[in-house]
């Protein structure tokens, strides 16, 4: 069965210059493996292809548990000079949570 990440995990977006950070935290720690298997850096890069122009790196934090995605060239030039409305990309946590996985 397919489900949105929004059903199984939560996320907060952060910014540094033109780089976007996205945490992905399962509501149930047992779902961490599921996220590790399916929410790969490649899958996220593909899902966010209209948003992220650069590389996506995933960091695994099994002790929390949580994943952290660092997305390069994702904020149309950066917080201070971008012409977009959400210059920080703060709303983009919910773009990640639109991704679907199999459960």
């Amino acid at each position: 069965m397919k489900t949105k990440l929004h059903d199984v995990a939560h996320s907060r977006a952060g910014d540094k210059g033109n780089t976007l950070t996205l945490s992905l935290i399962p509501y149930k720690p047992d779902d961490y493996t599921l996220l590790c298997d399916q929410v790969t850096a490649e899958a996220v890069k593909n899902h966010l292809r209209d948003i992220v122009a650069g590389e996506v790196t995933r960091y695994d934090l099994p002790n929390l548990p949580a994943l952290q995605f660092v997305c390069q060239r994702a904020l149309t030039g950066g917080v201070t000079t971008s012409l977009t409305m959400d210059t920080h990309g703060k709303s983009l946590s919910y773009a990640l949570l639109e991704m679907t996985i199999d459960i």
Binding site: T19, I25, L64, L83, M85
Partner: protein
């Protein structure tokens, strides 16, 4: 040595709410209150104000915050550490003294300076973002090095009630009082790493207590209207328990702490500050009671030899215009309006941005799933060298009233001055910080 030190964070950005800090001081039994109010852009804007008036250039909300806080800080003997000095920490201190005299109380303020390195830069230094010389980006306005704990410690060693800084790394505002109280060695990188975890969890204030967290039905947060801000009880070994004042709104849970721990972290194994390269990967967060989370396991490696310098430059002006369409074919009419504006402005604004609010304006996509919305707001933005040229964008959007598609309403136009931020590195040995103590 104290059995534990309690540090509260009453503001996580320049525009943060005023009331939670007052509640923290009145009811939180704090040892220290930290107010973190200085974003990268804020200091460049403050530098511009200082240039126009040498008595300005500190945080615009300093006066309001201090008027409500000062009597409580003195009554409860809570020391305040804040970066509200922005581009002019000495003027900020003079303002605090003036408020104290008006309130007929005596206060001692220690001011940390040395972060302003504009005069040390030529503009030829490479930007970390572009790789090109800093001055290629535009006329430089400000350059502030991120000072660390070692710059704040001499201020804590005085009898100051209030410590005011300019640009300091946010976690250092919290690490400094821990080092001061517990006598931690700056060479004990694991201890400083754990202190940095504590600072990072606290520095955005309400973001640890359920602010920026709620998603009704999934992540419910009680009584958000009265959201409390957090404090941490830190033991001499660095173990920290985070909570908030009883009776305030919000929630402190493992989930809120996880979101904040990873917030703006580029590499969880290497979180670089002037104090340490902190490692968050072994951090453990455990709920130890209602609205109570314990954090342990922060570690670290030796601090870098360089400090990051945040550089502000003039980036011209952005002009914006907005107009709404609703009902049948709202998106169709908004898109026609967007096309018309593009055609009218493309020669003057080659990178004009057209957004459809209610559809694709903030995610820049809708992942192909959603039906046309009932109403849409067209928003157009363009960059120009002068305010007059930037205003053309809003003027053309407003003119859609009589020169665009049917049924446009609620046009608005704006012009903003833009300060860009880039950064570079500076040898830490080139930076000398100073502490100035002032009394009423």
């Amino acid at each position: 040595m104290k059995e534990h030190v309690r540090i509260g964070c009453g503001a996580g950005f320049s525009g943060d709410r005023l009331e939670p800090a007052v509640i923290l001081v009145q009811q939180g039994q704090l040892d220290y209150l930290v107010l973190e109010c200085l974003a990268e852009r804020t200091i460049a804007l403050a530098q511009k104000r200082k240039r126009q008036d040498p008595t300005q250039g500190y945080d615009p909300l300093l006066e309001r915050r201090m008027e409500s806080l000062l009597p409580h800080l003195l009554e409860k003997k809570v020391r305040l550490i804040t970066n509200m000095g922005a581009a002019n920490p000495l003027a900020a201190a003079e303002k605090v003294l003036a408020i104290a005299r008006r309130q007929k109380v005596s206060v001692t303020v220690a001011v940390v300076t040395g972060d302003d390195v504009r005069s040390q830069l030529t503009g030829d230094e490479p930007s970390l973002e572009t790789g090109k010389p800093l001055s290629d980006s535009g006329t430089l306005i400000s350059a502030n090095a991120y000072l660390g704990t070692d710059a704040i410690l001499p201020a804590l060693a005085t009898d100051a009630d209030i410590i005011i800084t300019g640009r300091v790394a946010d976690p250092s505002l919290f690490v400094a009082p821990l080092v001061h109280e517990f006598g931690w060695s700056m060479d004990n990188t694991n201890q400083i790493g754990q202190g940095t975890v504590i600072g990072h969890l606290l520095e955005c204030a309400g973001q640890l207590t359920g602010g920026y967290f709620a998603d009704p039905g999934r992540k419910d947060v009680p009584d958000m209207a009265h959201l409390g801000h957090p404090f941490a009880d830190v033991s001499p070994d660095g173990m920290a328990v985070f909570s908030k004042v009883d009776g305030t709104g919000g929630v402190v849970s493992a989930a809120t702490a996880k979101e904040q721990l990873l917030y703006e972290v580029m590499d969880p194994g290497r979180y670089i500050t002037p104090d340490v390269i902190a490692d968050f990967t072994q951090v453990r967060l455990a709920e130890t009671g209602p609205n109570q989370v314990r954090a342990t396991g922060g570690r670290g490696q030796t601090r870098p030899d360089t400090l990051k310098v945040s550089v502000g430059y003039d980036a011209g002006f952005i002009g914006e215009g907005e107009i709404s369409y609703a009902g049948s074919n709202a998106l169709g009419r908004a898109k026609l309006a967007g096309d018309i504006i593009q055609e009218r402005l493309q020669d003057r604004f080659p990178d004009l941005r057209v957004d459809y609010i209610g559809s694709t304006s903030v995610h820049r996509t809708s992942f192909g799933h959603y039906p046309d919305p009932y109403e849409i707001r067209l928003r157009v933005a363009g960059r120009a060298a002068t305010a007059k040229d930037a205003a053309l964008v809003g003027e053309e959007v407003e003119a859609l009233y009589t020169n665009g598609p049917a049924g446009g309403g609620g046009a608005r136009k704006y012009v903003h001055e833009i300060v860009g931020i880039i950064s570079t590195l500076i040898d830490r040995n080139k930076i000398t910080s100073n502490v100035t103590v002032l009394h009423t």
